[in-house]
Symmetry: C2
Subunit: 518 residues, 2 copies
C-alpha cells in the first residue's frame, strides 16, 4: 500500500505538470459566492420529541417564572399584549399568548441593499456570512495588539467590501479612539460609504438607533415611511443571561422591530457561567430568552423580521474563560438549528475560536465551529472572519486566513457538473493506461480555472517552502491583507449622498452626539 | 449589539469561575471513542440520476475499453470469470459480468482484533479513524525533518495505541533504516506487539503478504483455515491510474481476497495529472478502476471484504504538487461516498492537508477534509493523524494536534441528554435573573466532567498565554507527544505469542527476508 505517500509517484505528478505554463491567474472569486446556498442536509443532536419537549418546557417556564425586563416601555408592550408583570419586573406570558406572538415571526425575508446585487435573503437554505463583530482589541503582525481605532475599523470595512464571500459589514473592531457619543456616527459612516453591502447597526439606545436609521435612509435616499416597509439593516441583541432583558437591549428590540428592520436575538448563554453547566439546561435557558425577545418584537410589530441567535458555548472550568470552537459548541449549534426551525425563523450561528494567535488551534477551532454551522443549517454565520482570543481581538491575519477558508467552503458547496465534456471519456481514451492528462486538449482547455487557487495557503513543496523562508500561514497573511487594502476601491456613491451622510455625521457630532443608554 | 466581545461580560465569566477549585482532571477519553457512529445525514453533490449515470458509464467503459492488468495470474482470474483479454493486456468486462461480480461484495463486515474490545465494524454508520500511512519522511520540533526510521514507526505505533480515537495501527512512516527485504517483518512486529489494535499489512508482493499473514496468525494463535474464515487485518491497494493494475497490486488483491482479509481499493486519481482535470472525469476514472479492482477481488473469492477507497484530489496547476484539503477534495469525497453507497460497499476517505508545517493552514485544510468525510458518510478515514506535506512527512506534532481534533469531533458526535436533571430547571429557578450558575449544586455536581478538556489547545487568556511565552499550538504539541510516549504501556501479550512473533521475524531475516515485487 502507501503509494499515496510515495515520493516517486508524487514526483511524477510534479514532473508531469512542471511543463505547465504558469500564467498569473486571477483567483476564482465568482459571483456565486454572493448568494450561497447550504447544500448539506440538516443534522440533529436532539430527537424530534426532544425538540418539542425543550420548546414546550421553555414556554411553560415563561408562564410560570418569566423573564425580568428592566425597561418600563417594554413591560408596557408585554402587558398590553396580555402578559402579567410583577413588582420585580418579572414578565410572565401564558403559553397560548407566547404561541400567538411567535406565530407572526416570518420564516424568510430579505435585506435590501444600496447595491441591489448585494441584497440578501435570510432563511431557507440561504447561507449568509458576516465577519467578526465587536472586539475591543485589534491585532496584526506589523503593529502588534492594541486597542481598536477608527482607522482599523475602516480597514476592516474595506477588507469586508473586497471579499465576495462576506455579505454584510460589521463593527469588526470597536474604535476606542472615537468618543462614545460620536462612535456610532463614525462607524455608520464607515459602513455606508466604504461599502455597498448590508450594514449592521448598533442598538445601544434610542438616540443611537435613530442616528443609524437616519444614515441608512440617507444612503438609500428614502423617507421614513419607505424605510419602514422593508428591512435595510440589522442589529444583534444579546439578552443578559440568565433571564433578563436590560434597558438598551429592550429599547433596541422595540425600535428595530417598530421600523421593520432585522433583529438577531442572541442569548448570552455561556454554559457553566451565565447558563447551566449541562447543555440541555443551557439550551433551555437560551430558548426561554430567545422566545421572550422574539415575542417582544412581535408584540411591537407583528411580522417584524427576527433571527434566532444562538451563542451557547461553554466556559472552560479550569481557567474560567469562555471557550469557542469546542465540541460542546458544535452540539449546541446543531441543537439550536433544530430549535430555530421548530419556531420557523432563521437561525444565526458563528465561526469562532479560542486561540490567542493565528496557529493550528485557530484553524481547527474555527472549522469546528463552521462544521456546526454547515451541518446544523445556519442561515447566518456571524464572527466568521477575524475573530481571535474568543472575540476579544480582531486580527487582520486571522481575517485573511478565514477569508481563504470561506472561499474554499464556498467552492466546496458548488455542485459537480456531470456532462459529456466534464466526463472526459475521449481524454481518458486518448491518454491510455499508465499515461497522464497534462498535455491533453481537455486539460489545456480547462486548467486555468479548473481548481480553486489559494491566496494565502501555499502549495509549495517542502524544499520550495524552506527556500522561501519557512513562513507559516499566519505570517504570510500579513502581506495579503496589505495587498488587499492597497487594491481596495471605494464603491460608487453619488456625491450628493456621500455629502448628505457626511453632513449628518458632522452636524450630530457638532451637537455633541448621543451617549448609549444603560 | 456586540456584548459577545465585551470584555466586561467576558471578565465577569472569568471572575465568576475563578473561584472554582482547579483539580488536576483526567481528560474525558471515553470508551465511546472506540466505536464511533457518524450521526450526520449524508450529503450529495450529485443527483441520484448523476450517480447512476456515472456508474453505468463506468461499466460501459470497462466493457468497451477496459483496464490494463500487468499480472498474468490476474488476467487468468478475469478470463476465467468471463472477461476478454487482448494482446495489450487490456481486460474488458461485459456490463452484466461486472454487475454479477460486484453483487457479491459485502456491505458490512468486521475485523476481529486480538483485544476483542478493539474489534471494528466497517460499513453502515460506523466511523473508523486510522492514522497516516506511508510517508517516507518524519518530522518533529526536536530532531527536525529526516528520513523515517524503525524507532520513529515504533513511536507512532505507541501513540496510536494510546489514542482511543484511532482504530487501527498503520505504517505511519516508512522505516528507511531497515533493509527493504526485512522491512515488512519489522513493521508487522511493531504493529502486533506494541499495539492490540487492528493491523494494516503491506501488499508489496506475494512473499511480503505471506509473512504478514503468518505473523497475524501467530498473534491470534490461529491456523490458516481459521484465519481464512473472517478478516483479521486490512491492506490498501492503489491502482496505477489511469486504468492500470500493476503486478504487486494485482497480487495483493488476489492474495488478500483469497485469504478473506480486507482490501481497500484506492485509485490514485489526482485530477489534472493521472486523471482528467474535470472532477466528473476524475470521478469516472476512479470509479472505473475501483470497480475493476473490486471485480477482481470478487472473482477470486465471492464475498471478499472490500472497501471503496477514494483519493481523488487535484494537482496544483501552478506548482505541479498534489494538493489536499482543497475544495475539490471535499466535493470529490462527497461524490465518492455516493458512488460507494451505490455499490453498497463501505467507503474510505481521508483527513489530509498540503501544509508543510503545523500552522493554521494545516488546521483549516485537515478540517476541510474531515468535513468531506463526515458529511459524505465515510466509514473509514485514513491519514487522519500526523499527515503533513501532502503525505510526504509524518509529523509528531501534527499527530498530536490531529488527535486533539479527533477527540473533539468524537465528543461533538455524542447526542445531548435531555432529562429533568440535565434541563436544570431548579438551578435556573434558584439562580434567578442576572445571576450566575457557578456556585449552584447543579454545577458543582457536574463541572469536572461537563466539558471536553483539551490536551494541547489552550484556553488561557491573552495575558496568561503571553506570560507563558506566546507558544503556539504546534510548539506546545512537542511536550505532549513526549509525555504520551513516556506514559505509554505495552498492551498485555502472552510471552509465548511474543516469542513466536519474534522467532518468525528473526528466522525470516536470517533467511534474507523477501523483496517486494514490482
Amino acid at each position: 500500500m502507501a503509494d499515496e505517500s510515495d515520493p516517486t509517484t508524487q514526483r511524477t505528478a510534479r514532473r508531469r505538470t512542471a511543463r505547465s505554463p504558469r500564467p498569473e491567474r486571477a483567483t476564482r472569486t465568482t459571483d456565486t459566492y454572493r448568494h450561497l446556498r447550504n447544500p448539506f442536509p440538516t443534522a440533529s443532536v436532539l430527537s424530534d420529541d426532544e425538540v418539542v419537549h425543550l420548546h414546550e418546557t421553555a414556554l411553560a417556564y415563561l408562564q410560570r417564572s418569566g423573564i425580568r425586563v428592566l425597561l418600563p416601555e417594554a413591560r408596557h408592550v408585554f402587558a398590553a399584549a396580555g402578559a402579567t408583570i410583577d413588582d420585580d419586573h418579572m414578565v410572565r406570558l401564558d403559553v397560548d399568548l407566547t404561541r400567538t406572538l411567535l406565530a407572526s415571526a416570518p420564516s424568510t425575508f430579505s435585506i435590501t441593499c444600496r447595491n441591489a446585487a448585494r441584497s440578501v435573503e435570510i432563511g431557507g437554505d440561504s447561507l449568509m456570512i458576516f465577519p467578526a463583530a465587536g472586539p475591543p482589541y485589534v491585532s496584526d503582525h506589523v503593529r502588534g495588539r492594541r486597542s481598536g481605532t477608527m482607522a482599523d475599523l475602516d480597514d476592516f470595512v474595506r477588507l469586508t467590501q473586497r471579499s465576495e464571500v462576506l455579505h454584510s459589514t460589521t463593527p469588526v473592531v470597536e474604535p476606542q479612539d472615537v468618543p462614545m457619543a460620536h462612535r456610532h456616527l463614525r462607524m455608520m459612516r464607515s459602513a455606508l460609504v466604504l461599502s455597498d453591502k448590508v450594514p449592521c447597526i448598533y442598538a445601544r439606545g434610542r438616540g443611537v438607533v435613530a442616528d443609524a436609521f437616519e444614515l441608512v435612509r440617507l444612503q438609500h435616499g428614502i423617507d421614513e415611511q419607505t424605510f419602514h416597509e422593508r428591512p435595510y439593516c440589522w442589529t444583534n441583541i444579546n439578552t443578559n443571561s440568565p433571564r433578563q432583558l436590560d434597558v438598551p437591549m429592550s429599547l433596541g428590540i422595540i425600535d428595530v422591530a417598530r421600523a421593520g428592520q432585522v433583529t438577531i436575538v442572541t442569548p448570552f448563554t455561556l454554559s457553566g457561567a451565565m447558563a447551566p453547566v449541562s447543555l440541555a439546561g443551557a439550551l433551555l435557558l437560551q430558548h426561554v430568552e430567545a422566545v421572550a425577545a422574539i415575542a417582544l418584537a412581535q408584540a411591537v410589530r407583528p411580522g417584524a423580521p427576527v433571527v434566532y441567535g444562538a451563542f451557547t458555548s461553554n466556559v472552560d472550568m479550569k481557567s474560567g474563560a469562555p471557550a469557542f470552537g469546542t465540541p460542546e459548541t458544535v452540539r449546541a449549534a446543531i441543537a439550536s438549528g433544530q430549535l430555530a426551525r421548530h419556531l420557523d425563523v432563521p437561525w444565526r450561528s458563528q465561526g469562532a475560536s479560542t486561540s490567542n494567535t493565528t496557529d493550528a488551534q485557530a484553524g481547527y477551532e474555527t472549522m469546528m465551529s463552521m462544521l456546526g454551522c454547515l451541518t446544523g443549517g445556519a442561515n447566518l454565520v456571524l464572527h466568521a472572519a477575524g475573530w481571535q482570543e474568543g472575540g476579544l481581538t480582531a486580527s487582520f491575519e486571522k481575517f485573511v486566513l478565514d477569508i481563504e477558508m470561506l472561499q474554499m467552503l464556498a467552492e466546496a458547496l458548488q455542485p459537480i457538473v456531470v456532462d459529456d465534456a466534464e466526463l472526459a471519456i475521449e481524454a481518458i481514451d486518448d491518454v491510455g493506461p499508465g499515461g497522464h492528462f497534462f498535455g491533453t486538449a481537455h486539460t489545456l482547455a480547462r486548467f486555468e480555472t479548473a481548481f480553486y487557487e489559494p491566496e494565502v495557503f501555499t502549495r509549495q513543496n517542502f524544499g520550495q517552502w524552506t527556500d522561501a523562508g519557512s513562513i507559516d500561514a499566519g505570517a504570510r497573511a500579513t502581506g495579503v491583507w496589505q495587498r488587499w487594502l492597497a487594491e481596495y476601491e471605494e464603491p460608487p456613491l453619488d456625491d450628493a449622498v456621500r455629502d448628505a451622510i457626511d453632513d449628518h455625521v458632522a452636524r450630530r457630532i457638532a451637537e455633541g452626539g448621543v451617549l448609549p443608554e444603560s
